[in-house]
Subunit: 396 residues, 2 copies
């Protein structure tokens, strides 16, 4: 029994307290907007058609069945909708708003991606497909970043635009994934190497090669209309424009038409949120109508990554308890007022003083009176007021 | 993709909201007493000496290693202490207080115990071994039940008493587990069947047969002193008496000297908490000095069982959102005041009214004014006051 398995880790008190704080802020935000918390099992029946089947940890079950550890929340939530709301799963238009938080596991090589146990927090808006629904999700993606104290930048794209451009340009289907990948990485030279050998008109080739640069403010949509001339592609740009029109305040929103990850999964708008000076996306999501449910969209926040972005900015470390107590009724009064009070484990005064000073606890509570032990805190008066008010309250 | 795997389940919004409420109350209680939240991995290296190795789900890792899903928090927390506090793991006397909450998995036959994915919430007090430390844990076990709104009954025992009686009576070691099991089940006839064939004095046999009945108030300790005459056993009774003496208020505490589960694991006081009209224990714990760490004790609450006990008493169901909104700034003001507001997915007034009434949302917010849709709630005035106060606040 030494270190934990590769790609897993212990979370010590300071970090765990910060994680709870962040998860709670996000839960409250989503709750305020009508998103109901649900829980789904960590164990699933192994399904080779699952979007992340190749990455999942497999387990043998007793009846020779194969189980998998949850590698993504979306398929499990879709299954929950099919069981709890069969009409919506069958196509009825009725908004269902769910939120979730929990672990996912990826059995991928830890040399490539060190973490194998992740925490995801996210929401799904199921049963409706409209620009207004997309805008609600993008707004909440932006608010998620703001609510934890970071400055957001939300990039909105539409893989349908890329897919449509490929079709109009006549790029053969087997090359779509490689071209989409080059575009998503904004790698023009890689994209050119893929396009050059093909029998494609120069005009069409130039249009596709323009896509990696279609990134910026809302004016990017107009640039795209000129650079990519096909009507089908313009209809996909209209979808992005329609969503952005829903925003009275479009600050911190960007257009990124080179967004082309998971081209066969996402069927509408996709988006990612970033923050200043932190290169990796904090969350990602989009619309996947027809992939798992007739109408559904959502996003998922990677908690570990969000915590790394937060650590660079601020360090709201959990303060140590304020009081070490040899007086149980006094401790109760302080705790009722929200003060953290540790019960002394020795009843000897000298030993208790040592316990407090070793742990950095500033006050010792003995027989109703507070004694400053280590540094003199600036809250002695406030704590004494709580103790003095005791006799007056209904507790008696 | 149908129902989830045997022994796992989805948790729908009402139940999930109640679970979060309970977990949060417990976390706040433990936090107030100085217990720091930590997190441990769900994936562990498989260890045949792990107390629950036989029950765990196993997984093959890529490098031919074997992993196991966490089946218990205590060994993982002991490992965390060994890594983060090697001096304490080596025997230094310094109190470390940890709390945790999360899933554990048992691969046992679901015919016998239907659930295979459980949630445990608990605390550990490591690095000290004293009656005062034991009393703190028992007090918090009692408070855990109270804080969720149930009436507790905490039963305190000492497996060392049973072990010592077996030794003094001359019961052969290979029979200890079976005898302890019969005593723990309070099954006198089974116990008699085990003892009768043995070459044991009638006096000693009578003493051991008395143990299943040593259950009740604090006077049980005196009854035990008379029924079980050996000095070594009396020293074990003194330990229980010492812990109970720590309580000024010993209401809801009981003595159960027949507590003899996991005899080779627990080395001191053990306890279980119950509530009225609910037969199964809500939590269990005790002292296991030397089993995983030199000095350690703790307890663990089974969240699913606690929720079943709570459902019998009360049903604090999550209310549906109060307002459906077509007015984003107004919705923001209400949410800032803690009101749950869903954004209407249609901007047509008639469709929004239908959306509200179908979802049981009492008010529609349009252009700064609230309109009663379904039943007329009794909080219209309060909500209107929030909206009216808007212009006056610093938000402008």
């Amino acid at each position: 029994m030494g270190a934990p398995p590769d790609g897993t880790r212990f979370v010590l008190p300071d970090a765990a307290a910060r994680r709870v704080q962040v998860v709670t802020s996000l839960r409250d935000l989503f709750h305020g907007w009508g998103y109901d918390l649900v829980e789904v099992p960590s164990l699933e029946r192994y399904d080779p058609s699952h979007p992340r089947a190749g990455q999942s940890f497999k387990l043998s079950d007793r009846d020779s069945g194969v189980l998998a550890l949850r590698s993504d929340f979306t398929p499990a939530l879709a299954q929950l909708v099919r069981l709890a709301h069969p009409a919506v799963a069958g196509g009825a238009a009725r908004a269902i708003r769910y939120q979730y938080a929990g672990s996912v596991w990826h059995a991928i090589d830890p040399e490539l991606a060190r973490t194998r146990e992740f925490t995801q927090v996210g929401i799904e808006l199921v049963g409706v497909s409209s620009a207004r629904a997309d805008a609600e999700l993008i707004h909440l993606a932006r608010e998620s970043v703001r609510t934890v104290g970071l400055v957001p930048r939300v990039e909105v794209g539409n893989p349908g635009f890329v897919r449509s451009a490929f079709a109009s340009a006549g790029i053969p289907l087997p090359l779509h994934a490689a071209c989409a990948d080059a575009i998503d990485r904004k790698d023009r030279s890689d994209l050119a190497d893929l396009l050059t050998p093909l029998q494609i008109e120069r005009e069409a080739q130039r249009a596709v090669l323009a896509i990696p640069d279609l990134y910026g403010g809302i004016e990017t949509l107009d640039l795209a209309r000129r650079a990519v001339p096909w009507p089908a592609a313009h209809r996909e740009l209209d979808r992005v424009a329609g969503v952005l029109r829903e925003f009275e305040d479009d600050s911190d929103l960007m257009v990124d038409l080179s967004m082309a990850r998971r081209l066969s999964y996402y069927t509408g708008i996709t988006f990612r949120a970033y923050t200043l000076d932190f290169g990796q996306p904090l969350l990602g999501g989009g619309r996947y109508d027809g992939s798992l449910l007739p109408a559904a969209a959502g996003f998922s926040i990677g908690l570990e990554r969000l915590m790394r972005a937060l650590t660079r900015r601020s360090a709201t470390v959990e303060p140590p308890p304020r009081v070490l107590s040899l007086d149980d009724p006094g401790a109760r009064a302080l705790r009722d007022a929200g003060v953290r009070v540790v019960r002394a484990l020795s009843t000897e005064l000298a030993a208790a003083r040592l316990e407090a000073s070793e742990r950095g606890i500033p006050y010792l509570l003995v027989a109703g009176a507070l004694e400053a032990v280590a540094e003199r805190g600036d809250d002695l008066g406030a704590l004494e007021a709580i103790l003095e008010a005791r006799g007056e309250g209904p507790r008696g």
